[in-house]
């Protein structure tokens, strides 16, 4: 396949791919009618899509450095937007977000604002300038702008800490979905997930990841939107849910007060009988339920973290020009917006279909025995994601007697709302696509930093391209394997570790990156101090709060990036001003970065 031709034919290629996927869904629906078992449909969906990604990965194999590191810098704007959206939306966004909104309401939606608002910072402060720079990795920018191996090494350390925290969560998510869909034990499923991730990235590096991520975006967005629209129409809530669910939101508030939300509380003994990880509805759906500072501090951390996470930033190194890098950020956010604006709607529809006694699907107020006899209840109860118990012994299910896992909102709602099983299979494939695409980007970000910045730039600058790319692949494999091994231990939940990753990235990288472009006086000692002290103080604060420390300014273990980044900012400015100003060559380099035209600062193959 000739490359130039492939780029020109992208809309056609992915058009055919999308059409083929829709046909596949219809075929599965027909097979379901013909009596194919639910289990088999799930296996088909996950296996079929994963094989396609692996095939794309194989087609994109390469032995050239700029294709491996930055996809040859020829990814068109809109497609880079889709790839970034897939790179960005992880298992957490796909599987856990609607659940978080369902249980925590307004306070949780700070994450929606933070995970989108961050892109304004990416577009205006960083992406176009780093693209002009022409670097392969984020530490490549830090190392060249500030000069010296110490700065480069510090950037690699921050990148690795943040991305590795994130990637274990993603491999965990691929394992969860693979184990449910393929019906294999979690410990094995994690390595099945890892194998799929490596198939997409090992042969073709960034080029392969780019084209698989576009394919994964298409699967995940269809898998997310189709059920939302279907359920909304089936319930008669409105054909375009995003604009039409105001009555449903109001109805939930009415039902909440009818069912005594917040007035009827469970005793500690009752709650102890609820399986771990499941929760009941304790917060109002749409009410403002948190203090402004709590909301804002969480949003700020997610925004600054977005602008510092290397796997996102490096997607903008693959566009053909500075101009397209800027526009591409807009497209990325547009594609992300499609899913994020649907998550609250899914949470609303899911909650109402369970709560409303006027709907056939409503279970609150029904007899406990009836609910326990429902097929879907038995399935999800077995999967340890649902639980009911007659605490007050009246034989009727009350709102405070129903418990659900966060993942169930996305995974189980289609079944609860009475959609055919084919939709549940589709949702599993979508979740798999979301978790895989993010894991790919993260594993590649770490291994590229290690192979390019540590091995090639520091250890062996004379290495030939072939040797560099072999080292890159070995590292990719090792990092993936290490991530899977930790994921198999199941230490933390998916969402908690994702939020930590943002805080780590923000603590160490936000100000060194931004000031590298916007403050000429920033120098190497300042940047090193900023990165290391930021990361250390943020981590120290996290450990302190985790071990029962009181904390200050209302900063919790989810927002420790505020402490880290402030220390980073102050130490970077103080140390920079106390030491020598950067030399004239560096100053000229910064001037050069600030104008879009002309050559990149680093040569095409460096």
């Amino acid at each position: 396949m000739i490359k130039g031709k492939f780029i020109d034919n992208l809309p056609k290629v992915y058009g055919i791919y999308t059409g083929g996927f829709l046909v596949f869904i219809i075929l599965m629906a027909i097979a379901e009618q013909a009596g194919m078992s639910a289990k088999l449909i799930g296996i088909f969906f996950v296996a079929f899509t994963v094989l396609i990604y692996a095939f794309i990965g194989w087609l994109s194999r390469t032995m050239q450095a700029d294709a491996y590191y930055v996809a040859g810098r020829q990814v068109p704007t809109v497609f880079n937007g889709m790839a970034t959206a897939a790179d960005w939306m992880s298992g957490a966004s796909f599987v856990a977000m609607a659940g978080g909104i369902y249980f925590k309401g307004y306070g949780y939606m700070a994450l929606l604002v933070g995970w989108t608002g961050g892109y304004v910072l990416v577009a205006s402060l960083l992406a176009p300038y780093l693209r002009k720079f022409g670097c392969y990795t984020v530490p490549d920018f830090i190392g060249t702008r500030y000069g010296g191996n110490l700065a480069r090494l510090s950037a690699v350390i921050v990148l690795t800490v943040a991305s590795f925290t994130y990637v274990t969560a993603q491999i965990n998510a691929t394992g969860t979905i693979a184990s449910v869909a393929l019906d294999i034990p979690f410990g094995v499923a994690v390595y099945v997930g890892l194998a799929s991730i490596l198939m997409c990235s090992m042969l073709g590096g960034m080029r392969a990841v780019t084209w698989t991520q576009v394919a994964q975006y298409i699967v995940l967005i269809i898998a997310y939107l189709l059920p939302v629209f279907w359920i909304s129409n089936k319930m008669g809530a409105g054909f375009f849910p995003h604009f039409m669910l105001a009555d449903e939101v109001a109805r939930i508030a009415e039902l909440e007060s009818n069912f005594g939300l917040g007035t009827i509380k469970n005793s500690a003994a009752d709650l102890a009988s609820v399986p771990k990880g499941l929760a009941g509805i304790t917060k109002a759906h749409s009410e403002v339920n948190t203090t402004p500072w709590k909301f804002i501090s969480l949003a700020v951390c997610m925004m600054a973290g977005t602008a510092s996470l290397p796997h996102v930033m490096m997607r903008y190194f693959t566009t053909p020009s500075v101009k397209t890098a800027r526009r591409s950020v807009g497209w990325s956010l547009f594609f992300i917006f499609l899913l994020y604006s649907s998550a609250p709607m899914l949470a609303t529809l899911s909650k109402l279909s369970l709560m409303d006694p006027n709907l056939a699907t409503g279970i609150i107020g029904k007899s406990i025995a009836d609910v326990q006899a429902l097929d879907w209840y038995q399935n999800w109860n077995q999967a340890n994601l649902m639980f009911v118990s007659d605490f007050n012994g009246n034989g009727t299910l009350e709102l405070n007697e129903f418990f659900m896992g966060g993942k169930a909102v996305v995974l189980a709602t289609p079944e609860i709302a009475g959609l055919p099983y084919v939709i549940s299979g589709l949702v599993a494939a979508g979740g798999m696509a979301a978790a895989m695409s993010t894991a790919d980007g993260l594993v590649l970000a770490i291994s590229n930093a290690l192979s390019h910045d540590i091995y090639y730039k520091i250890i062996n600058p004379k290495a030939e391209t072939a040797k560099r790319l072999i080292v890159a692949r070995i590292l990719l494999f090792l990092i993936g394997f290490a991530g899977a091994s930790i994921a198999a231990l199941e230490i933390q939940g998916i969402l908690g570790s994702v939020i930590w990753a943002f805080d780590f990235a923000m603590s160490g990288l936000f100000f060194p990156l931004v000031l590298g472009v916007w403050w000429k006086r920033a120098n190497a000692p300042g940047a090193v101090a900023g990165m290391l002290l930021g990361l250390i103080s943020g981590t120290a604060y996290l450990i302190w709060v985790r071990n029962g420390g009181a904390g200050f300014w209302g900063i919790t273990q989810l927002t420790f990036g505020i402490v880290g980044s402030l220390v980073s900012l102050v130490s970077m400015i103080v140390v920079s001003l106390m030491t020598k100003a950067p030399d004239a060559a560096t100053q000229r380099m910064v001037d050069e970065v600030r104008i879009p035209s002309g050559k990149t600062l680093l040569s095409k193959s460096h």
Binding site: L112, P128, M303, S321, K323, G330
Partner: protein, 87 residues
């Protein structure tokens, strides 16, 4: 002032305007969550606080980035810093 310094000044001012709008919709309005909830202005019938967190701010960010990119391109053009095709 050199051409490059002028270009950078315009770029910086453009950044400040962009960040000001960003600040209002990502941070500013959420100081007033309770006031927004009580407001009679209900877009599409949703409570204002709810609407802004699920669609309002998010949509504004999308538009803001495209507006930012367009205007920055005009600034670059004005000073002859636009990239040539195939650069």
């Amino acid at each position: 002032m050199s051409k490059q310094a002028q270009h950078w000044e315009k770029t910086r001012n453009h950044l400040f305007i962009t960040l000001a709008i960003w600040f209002i919709f990502s941070i500013g309005i959420f100081f007033f969550g309770a006031e927004m909830e009580a407001s009679n202005f209900r877009p599409l019938g949703y409570p204002l606080s709810y609407y802004m967190t699920c669609q309002g701010s998010l949509g504004i960010f999308v538009i803001l980035i495209f507006w930012f990119a367009n205007r920055q391109e005009k600034i670059d053009e004005e000073f002859g810093y636009t990239e040539r095709e195939g650069d």
